[in-house]
């Protein structure tokens, strides 16, 4: 059976001053019911555009190709009306910053119930009752009263919970969580991630978590896909990809995570940044887009475009040299990057 969401060879081109430029280039992944899949990558790697594509909310003039099938239906060719019926109802979104994603001057109750009533045809009182239940589910204290309050009256973590309640209100089957914890304190992050995990278990909700933070991935995702400059670098089961990364970029992201305990351990480095910065839209280098920043680049990397190939069960890798050791130990490159 086909999974709930199957994205195949997705290509999204955005209009820039110099014409259309690919923001997402040949991306493929699946999300099954009750599964949490993470997409990781630095800003500008096309993560958010992937989510916008699935909702049909790309900026004017954007062009898509490839395929994104949700429950057997092709999303890329849906009409405006069909997309609107799908948004919120089937696929919902929680975005990065709850302080800007919630409407500042509409009461929480309105924001939770408006699309619920629109999509499900509930009466005002039925929607209210359901909203109270939903706010309780995401652990908002005194949900009755919260309905009449405004987003500004809640803390950041509470707001993100409300945003999740808003996203869940019309009982969607797939939740797109775009950097759901980036704006939050670490302690609050853990609560939000646990909430996502609980919702997936209790409701069979499929979640696509988009983040630059591999720490968030390792906490909840079943499978992860690492993107660089709009392309897939590596994807596979979470434990496999994060414990024994095969792509130098994944390795780099892992090394860029702070390890405070490393201060006492001379063998480890507290935090090793990836040199350089990701290419901007339209400036993607030929060959492997990561090769200018890669410590393991060989001459072929600058010319041949790497395609993702299976290297283990469910593990795809777009790095033909495949230079990393299989035991997950941090490698020490011999020379400085070219």
């Amino acid at each position: 059976m086909e999974p709930l969401l199957r994205v195949e060879d997705l290509r999204v081109e955005l209009p820039t001053r110099r014409g259309l430029r690919p923001a997402v280039d040949g991306l493929s992944f699946d999300v099954a019911e009750g599964e949490i899949v993470g997409i990781a990558g630095e800003s500008g790697s096309g993560k958010t555009m992937t989510a916008m594509t699935l909702l049909g909310l790309l900026p004017h003039g954007a062009r898509t190709s490839g395929s994104a099938r949700f429950d057997g239906r092709e999303l890329l060719t849906l009409g405006r009306r069909q997309l609107r019926d799908l948004r919120g109802r089937q696929i919902a979104m929680v975005s990065q910053d709850p302080s800007t994603a919630l409407h500042p001057i509409l009461p929480v109750g309105t924001q939770v119930t408006e699309h619920m009533r629109h999509h499900l045809g509930l009466s005002k009182s039925a929607a209210r009752a359901e909203a109270v239940e939903l706010l309780a589910t995401v652990r908002i204290p005194d949900p009755e009263r919260a309905l009449g309050a405004y987003p500004g009256q809640f803390s950041g973590g509470m707001r993100q919970r409300i945003a999740i309640a808003v996203a869940l209100a019309a009982r969607p089957r797939l939740l797109l969580a775009d950097e759901p914890t980036t704006a939050l304190d670490v302690t609050v992050q853990a609560g939000i991630l646990r909430l996502l995990d609980r919702l997936r278990r209790e409701r069979g909700l499929a979640v696509l978590v988009i983040t630059h933070d591999l720490g968030v991935m390792s906490a909840v995702a079943d499978r992860v896909a690492v993107m660089y400059a709009g392309r897939l670098a590596e994807s596979g089961p979470r434990a496999q990809v994060l414990a024994t990364p095969r792509h130098p970029y994944t390795r780099g992201l892992l090394d860029a995570l702070p390890h405070p305990e490393a201060a006492d351990d001379p063998a480890r480095v507290a935090l090793r940044p990836i040199p350089g910065s990701p290419p901007s839209l339209g400036d993607v280098p030929a060959g492997c887009p990561f090769h200018p920043r890669c410590a393991f680049a060989v001459p072929a990397c600058a010319t041949d475009r790497p395609e993702p190939v299976p290297v283990a069960a469910g593990h795809l890798l777009a790095c033909p040299p495949d230079p990393l050791p299989r035991d997950g130990a941090a490698p020490v490159p011999e020379g400085a990057p070219a």
């Binding site: 019926d85 800007t100 001057i105 908002i140 009263r145 646990r194």
Partner: protein
């Protein structure tokens, strides 16, 4: 797992309580006291200004007699207290003002209060018609322009708003008078009622409202017909102003994350535009609407004079022409009070629209 969940901070919200209602009263009281002081300040400014104007009220009012008959001039001066030193004149004026006595008009020989009572409703009717029309048309077109940004409706409306704000009112007034009254004869060219009709029994002083209350439909029709031309002319500038401003603030709000979030919820575009975009945009729109009302009041001087509309604007014009000091002062006080009231209303509306203001 739930231990960490419940350890999260509780909402810092505060429901609307009796305390916040008391805050509202305190705010109102403060603003009203400040408004009263402002009114007094304005009387001082207009008092001084009228004294600085070169010209002699006695000469202006008595005409040739002022030259021929020094006794009449002296009597005139004594009658209106003009023979006393300026500070005394001002003190006397203020003392009377507090008791609600605005003095006697040197022109109409009636009390200024009686004059104002007659003219204010006429102007209020005209200004109300114009501002309601401007808000309906200006805000609606502004929303259309923002939604169709850079497409043909927006291009057309850009020209419309530019024309609205850049054509001088006196010119539009004369043009409209010439076209719709003189050439086409579609609308009456002046006055508040057809010559054969008598005004409806006075309740509010606004002919349209009074006629409707009395059930005199013929009178109501005629009153509306007379209202259209000066009302439209008066609204031209404010429509252009509100259109531009509505478009600009709509576009600003449209770029927000919460609008994208509203679209991601699958709401119909109409709901997104009205509830999620127009509502927050209204905060800046009403600020401009308050200013627009002010510019509208000053526009009445011209429009009322051209369309012989017996209102405050025309009264202000004739009083100024004749240096009728009590009348000028009376108009100033009324206009100042209206300005203050409008600003207070705008401030209160902020709170109605934006809970962040209400709750802080």
């Amino acid at each position: 797992m739930s231990s960490a969940d419940s350890a999260l901070p509780v909402p810092v919200g505060r429901p609307r309580t009796r305390a916040s209602r008391r805050d509202l009263w305190r705010f109102l009281a403060k603003r009203l006291v400040a408004g009263a002081f402002l009114c007094v300040g304005i009387t001082l400014v207009s008092f001084v200004l009228t004294q600085l104007v070169p010209g002699d009220p006695a000469a202006a009012n008595l005409g040739n007699r002022a030259v021929e008959d020094p006794a009449a001039v002296a009597a005139f001066r004594a009658q209106y207290g003009l023979d006393k030193p300026l500070p005394v004149q001002y003190a006397v004026y203020l003392g009377k003002l507090v008791r609600g006595d605005l003095g006697e008009s040197q022109q109409s020989h009636r009390t200024v209060k009686a004059d104002l009572a007659e003219y204010i409703p006429a102007t209020f009717e005209l200004a109300l018609f114009a501002i309601v029309l401007s808000l309906l048309v200006g805000v609606t077109l502004g929303v259309v322009a923002a939604v169709f940004r850079d497409r043909w409706p927006d291009q057309v409306l850009r020209v419309v708003s530019l024309a609205g704000v850049s054509m001088p009112t006196f010119w539009i007034a004369l043009l409209a008078f010439f076209v719709f009254f003189y050439k086409l004869g579609w609308l009456p060219g002046g006055g508040r009622l057809g010559p054969a009709l008598t005004p409806p029994p006075r309740t509010t002083g606004m002919f349209t409202v009074d006629a409707a209350l009395a059930g005199q439909w013929g009178v109501l029709g005629s009153a509306l017909e007379h209202l259209v031309l000066p009302g439209l002319v008066l609204a031209t500038y404010t429509v252009g102003m509100l259109l531009r401003f509505t478009r600009a603030s709509m576009l600003e709000i449209l770029g927000n994350d919460y609008v994208r979030a509203a679209r991601a919820k699958g709401l119909p575009e109409r709901v997104v535009v009205v509830r999620h975009v127009l509502r927050p945009a209204l905060i800046s729109i009403i600020t401009v609407a308050g200013l627009a009302f002010g510019s509208l009041l000053s526009g009445t001087v011209l429009v009322e004079t051209i369309y012989s509309w017996p209102g405050l604007g025309q009264y202000a014009y004739t009083s100024a022409k004749n240096l009728d000091l009590p009348a000028i002062m009376g108009v100033s006080v009324v206009v100042a009070a209206v300005y203050i009231a409008i600003n207070l209303l705008v401030d209160l509306l902020y709170g109605v629209i934006d809970p962040r203001i209400r709750l802080s």
